[in-house]
């Protein structure tokens, strides 16, 4: 088969598969970032990077590959952000953005507790809890030993628990 069309078809199917992964990538980016806008930015950067690095994809698991890219982008971005002054006003904006899906107070509370975690702890927790990756997969994606994943997970959970306990409010379970 001629080389060109094959490349084109592969590119098309790659983008198709990537498009199908966007909802998951959006959730992951949102679970790492402070605001919806930051989440969309990170998502866009990730899509752009994935398209640019398509040649590096070895055809194994596209989802893990794309999530690894986002994990690295988040880490880099966070480092860059630390060099700029940050606005502390964003919590108010989040309350204003509250939606009809779920308890806005609960969202704010969980988000605020997550903000207090270091980026590495938060990333670990989100990959395991929200995205359902195993500890080994998480270790591979973050390029750390599995023991590091376990200790980050443990500290993240303890910090989160004490933070949420300070709120001293028992969340009402939303009926589905």
């Amino acid at each position: 088969m001629p080389h060109g069309p094959d490349d084109g078809a592969a590119a098309a199917s790659f983008e198709e598969a990537l498009l199908a992964l966007v909802p998951g990538l959006r959730r992951y980016s949102r679970s790492l970032t402070r605001t919806d806008a930051d989440g969309e930015d990170l998502l866009q950067d990730c899509v752009e990077a994935a398209l640019a690095r398509r040649a590096q994809w070895r055809g194994a698991n596209l989802r893990s590959w794309a999530f690894t890219i986002m994990t690295n982008l988040f880490r880099n971005r966070y480092r860059a952000m630390m060099r700029r002054p940050t606005a502390a006003i964003e919590e108010a904006e989040q309350v204003a953005l509250a939606d009809d899906d779920g308890d806005p107070l609960e969202r704010t509370r969980i988000r605020a507790a997550l903000e207090a975690l270091t980026p590495d702890y938060r990333t670990t927790l989100m990959l395991v809890v929200v995205e359902g990756y195993s500890y080994q997969e998480t270790a591979d994606m973050m390029r750390v030993p599995i023991g590091t994943v376990m200790s980050r997970l443990s500290r993240a959970r303890h910090q989160l628990a004490s933070r949420l306990a300070q709120d001293n409010i028992v969340p009402l379970r939303r009926s589905k």
Binding site: G8, P23, S31, Y135, R157, L164
Partner: protein, 260 residues
């Protein structure tokens, strides 16, 4: 990471909460928690954390109308990496374009400004395979323990008497299934798994154009799809397994679904 039988360490408690233990170990941890109230309390607290976090971010798992546009914009910014002629040729290769209906996924990358974009059955099957087989917790909507309900439900949405193939002779058992759009219409995804945890998917969708095809193979890296159209129904079997094994699965599906 996992300790010897008899003792349960903190790592076991995490793995328990995260659903990462096998059944045997899970039972051991459960037994341990009966007699270790402090650990039981930690487990309860972490489980509740997990649920609250998942619930907060569940609403972000959405696709937006602008997603395809975002991909297109980003790829354009990459310059001439993918040339137009290659794209046109790619579009020409999407042989199921015509058959697989209107409202299908818009693939802005291959779309001329006014024209409809296409997603072939094989591509949809591969996307679904990549997305759903990698889900650890929720790979399917209805699990295999409700087979009758699954077949009736998906069959109803497809308006077709859906028979769930029995692939046990080939070492694969049913995980379950879900509803998903195929060519813009309700379609069915069935997932199977072998003892080694290797998963494969079967997609069944409506084909607007009445016709028949032989088996066709579509390969993208290690992921292969066998697909065929039989009248108004299209089938696609996708897996990350050798072509001859996948072909055996496709043959078996064809045989059993024909009988339906």
């Amino acid at each position: 990471m996992i300790q010897a039988t008899g003792t349960v360490g903190e790592n076991d408690l995490h793995a328990f909460v995260d659903g990462l233990l096998d059944e045997g170990r899970r039972a051991e941890v459960e037994a341990w928690l009966q007699t270790n109230p402090q650990d039981a309390e930690r487990v309860a607290s972490w489980s509740s954390q997990n649920e609250r976090i998942r619930e907060v971010f569940a609403r972000d798992f959405v696709s937006r109308g602008s997603d395809a546009e975002m991909l297109r914009r980003n790829r354009q910014s990459l310059g001439s990496r993918f040339t137009r002629p290659a794209i046109a040729a790619a579009a020409a290769l999407l042989i199921f374009a015509a058959g697989f209906g209107s409202g299908r996924l818009t693939m802005a990358t291959t779309a001329p400004p006014s024209g409809a974009a296409t997603a072939s059955l094989a591509q949809e099957a591969r996307s679904a395979f990549l997305v759903y087989t990698s889900e650890v917790r929720h790979p399917v909507e209805v699990a295999a323990d409700q087979q009758d309900h699954l077949a009736a439900w998906l069959g109803k949405r497809l308006d077709y008497r859906l028979r769930l193939p029995d692939l046990s002779a080939l070492g694969y058992s049913l995980v379950g299934g879900r509803l998903l759009p195929v060519g813009g219409q309700p379609g069915a995804l069935l997932m199977y798994q072998n003892a080694g945890g290797q998963r494969l998917t079967i997609i069944v969708g409506r084909n607007a154009e009445h016709r028949e095809t032989s088996f066709r193979l579509d390969t993208d890296g290690p992921v292969r799809t066998f697909y065929w159209i039989d009248g108004t129904i299209g089938y696609a079997v996708t897996g990350e397994i050798p072509a001859d094994e996948l072909r055996a699965v496709a043959d078996e599906c064809y045989r059993q679904m024909e009988e339906a």
